[in-house]
């Protein structure tokens, strides 16, 4: 069996020269090994990055908690963040983050999902080929431009609707809505992918039983693609929590423990940007504190991303 030669070392390709036979597959190739080593190193850089993030954030956060007057209990229970007088309670920053993210999801979920259903179930091939790239353009615009949009368009718009008295110039509502707009393309394109992956035969079976297009879409296709859609939602939440420039520009400066979306409040990311953008001296409490916030943010987004992948892996319906 000549074709199996490579599997059997004894019959491996050999050459004869000089004083005997040489097995080519056993020949040492230092160049090849070197290249493979380098390529492995390239792959390992990503591991180093993760280790670097956890180590550096953890180290500085540890220094922060070692500072006099800072305790873990206070950090997680207090509702005041005023570094100037030694109050380090994370809650004002967390509530602001949750508020902008919640508003963002209220905007992005219905719009994103409806867009996905329209593109996947209703739109003709031609319409799809026009609308999809437009949404991708929306996804490619830098977030600082969205921040500008929030401050110079959305805030004046909200203020003209609800009145200048009720809405402050910097407010979480405007920032949240624009973050929602930012993640519409993410939700719609991920959901559309999973809707598109549902086999045609399911739709045809539904049509055959007399279902209308809407009934097919909502009762057959969407449930079949539910794992992908859920994963898209979770990734979108993670994106909203980590979004920085929009909230830094439009949500306001200064942590405030409030649940009123028309007031200004500072999110975790907004606080990190404001503190690190100023004149920052290393090893001060301010410097260390942003790393503690960053570590919390890292674990929040990481767990959301892991959760989304779990959802896909566990609940995915596999069709032959």
């Amino acid at each position: 069996m000549e074709s199996h030669a490579a599997l059997n070392p004894d019959s491996a390709p050999t050459v004869e020269f000089g004083n005997g036979q040489h097995n080519l597959s056993k020949r040492r190739r230092p160049g090849e090994a070197l290249i493979q080593g380098f390529l492995f190193f390239c792959g390992a850089v990503s591991i180093f990055t993760t280790i670097g993030i956890v180590y550096e954030l953890g180290k500085e956060a540890l220094l922060f908690f070692r500072t006099d007057g800072v305790t873990l209990v206070e950090f997680f229970t207090s509702t005041k963040w005023q570094p100037a007088i030694g109050d380090f309670g994370i809650w004002p920053l967390v509530t602001a983050t949750l508020m902008t993210s919640a508003i963002a999801m209220l905007v992005a979920l219905p719009l994103g999902l409806a867009t996905a259903i329209y593109l996947s179930e209703y739109a003709s091939e031609r319409t799809r080929s026009i609308l999809k790239p437009i949404l991708e353009v929306l996804a490619g615009i830098p977030t600082v431009v969205y921040g500008y949009f929030a401050l110079t368009f959305m805030t004046p718009l909200l203020r003209s609707i609800f009145g200048d008295g009720t809405i402050q110039i910097f407010n979480t509502a405007s920032a949240g809505i624009v973050v929602g707009i930012l993640i519409i393309p993410l939700v719609s394109s991920m959901s559309e992918d999973s809707l598109h992956a549902v086999p045609r035969s399911l739709r045809e079976a539904a049509f055959g039983l007399g279902a209308t297009k809407l009934e097919t879409a909502l009762k057959v296709v969407v449930p079949a693609a539910l794992s992908g859609i859920t994963a898209a939602f979770v990734v979108a939440i993670s994106r909203a929590v980590g979004e920085t420039m929009i909230v830094a520009i439009a949500a306001g400066a200064g942590p405030k423990f409030t649940f009123n979306p028309f007031e200004s409040a500072e999110t975790m990311t907004g606080h990190i940007v404001r503190i690190s953008g100023g004149d920052l001296s290393y090893d001060s409490v301010d410097y260390n504190s942003i790393f503690a916030i960053g570590l919390l943010l890292f674990f929040m987004t990481l767990s959301l991303n892991v959760l989304s992948r779990r959802i896909v892996a566990r609940f995915r319906e596999v069709y032959e």
Binding site: P13, E32, F38, L39, F40, C42, G43, A44, V45, S46, T49, T50, G52, E56, L57, E60, L111, G112, A114, T115, Y118, L119, Y122, L131, I134, L135, L138, G140, I141, P142, T143, V144, V145, Y146, G147, Y148, F149, L151, T152, F153, P185, T212, K213, L214, E215, L218, G242, E243, T244, A248, I249, T269, I272, V273, S276, F291, G294, F298, L302, L304
Partner: protein, 448 residues
């Protein structure tokens, strides 16, 4: 009745039920379409808003009316140089005049503000002022000086583009009442001089040249770092790594997770590692490139480039992996069959075929990196810098940083130049993405 599962309508009831279902279908279909249109309209609103702010009417008020500076109705810009210098000398202090004269002379043979003997002495000294080597200012130069130093035009109010076009008469009337001395003119904030001017604290004079150079430098470092490493990692994962190996699985999972980490976290990593721990390397002190080691710090282009490099690394790897996976395995087997080694197969057959995909992915991640703001703020982009970056160890600013800075200021004029800077950034991104599409089309036809 409807709750009863065994209820099957007949005749008219059936027709009514079917009609109802179809009506509901139409309503929802309209809703879905509306949602899609809203999403598209938002994009339009975004662009509309930027254009609306980048152009429009402005009210310009001069500190000194230029017509009072001339006689017989001659235009200021038509005055001969001698008279312009006289105007200048009559309105600015001698100290400022000396400074201007040391930068560049007004006349080749004589001085206006300086004492001639003292000036000659200065030129002979160890550090002669710039004026000694330069020819005298032209009439045009002096006119510009008179404009900025004497006339001092200042924008006191701006209107949006839509107001300027649709409600022009209202705007003019309002301006007439509020600023009787001001001149109303249409202004595009995006001008050639906006692109070529350095940063300035005056919005009328400010430009984005420094920021464009900063962005280009940073992005060059980013690509030089992340392209080889990203493609290398993708080759390793696709061609060498055995899937059942735990370490390789860990690397793959890790890359997927890194792609979801918020960009600001990378900024903090860059601040801790590149700016602080590797300060000697990123500030250039190790290479002896810094003359004054006491003021050198790691907040340089190199730090920013490496930080953004780490940020886009997972994206490059994932895209390159997909491109490599798309290369048919028959190609590899044909190459092996002819006796090529693994690396020869990859280098001569797999990579050339995967290249269009890899390049497209890289350019798309580049446009992501150009727009990133938060990591650069954290790593320490300079907020005000008027000197062009001269190398990887310079302090820097970048286009998105400029936009952020200008947006954060309360004055209207800064909003206007922020809009102009956004247009510059969007044009840059558009060019990059068009290049990506072009490359993909060109190479994919060549390869097949």
């Amino acid at each position: 009745m409807k709750a009863n599962k065994n209820y099957y309508p007949e005749g008219d009831a059936l027709l009514a039920q079917i009609n109802g279902r179809h009506r509901r279908g139409t309503i929802w279909r309209t809703l879905f379409l509306t949602a899609t249109i809203i999403a598209i309209l938002v994009l339009m609103a975004l662009l509309y808003n930027v254009f609306n702010q980048a152009f429009g009417l402005v009210a310009v008020q001069n500190k000194i009316d230029p017509t009072t500076l001339t006689t017989d109705g001659v235009l200021l810009e038509d005055l001969p140089k001698e008279q312009l210098v006289d105007v200048l000398a009559g309105h600015i202090s001698t100290g400022l005049g000396r400074r201007l004269e040391r930068e560049q002379l007004f006349f080749d043979t004589s001085t206006v503000f300086e004492d001639p003997a003292l000036f000659n002495e200065l030129c002979a000294s160890a550090e002669p002022p710039a004026a000694c080597a330069l020819p005298a200012r032209s009439q045009e130069d002096v006119y510009q000086l008179v404009l900025t130093r004497v006339v001092e035009p200042e924008v006191i109010k701006t209107w949006s583009l839509v107001d300027s076009i649709l409600h022009r008469s209202d705007v003019l009337m309002e301006a007439e009442q509020a600023f009787p001395e001001a001149v109303i003119e249409f202004r595009s904030w995006l001008t050639p001089s906006f692109i070529t001017n350095p940063q300035s604290s005056e919005p009328e004079l400010a430009g984005v040249r420094t920021a464009i150079f900063g962005s280009l430098w940073v992005i060059a470092i980013t690509i030089m770092f992340s392209f080889p490493i990203g493609v290398g990692a993708a080759i390793y994962l696709e061609e060498y790594a055995q899937q059942e190996n735990r370490l390789n699985r860990l690397i793959q999972t890790n890359i997927n997770n890194l792609a979801g980490v918020p960009s600001i976290i990378y900024g903090m990593l860059g601040l801790a590692i590149f700016v602080r721990v590797l300060e000697g390397f990123t500030s250039g002190a190790v290479f002896g490139l810094v003359s004054d080691t006491t003021t050198a710090n790691g907040r340089t282009i190199l730090s920013a480039g490496l930080t953004l490099g780490l940020l886009i690394l997972p994206i490059i790897i994932i895209n390159a992996q997909e491109a490599i996976r798309a290369v048919p395995s028959s190609l590899r087997q044909a190459s092996f069959g002819l006796g090529a080694t693994k690396w020869q197969t990859i280098w001569h057959h797999v990579l050339p075929n995967a290249l269009p995909g890899i390049l497209t992915g890289t350019i798309l991640s580049m446009s992501r990196a150009i727009g990133e703001t938060a990591p650069l703020v954290v790593v320490g982009a300079s907020t005000f810098i008027t000197v062009d970056p001269s190398g990887p160890f310079s302090k820097f600013t970048a286009l998105p940083i400029q936009i952020y800075q200008w947006t954060s200021r309360p004055q209207d004029e800064f909003r206007n130049i922020a809009a102009a800077a956004i247009l510059v950034l969007l044009i840059l991104l558009l060019t990059l993405n068009a290049t990506a599409v072009f490359l993909r089309n060109r190479y994919s036809t060549k390869m097949t």
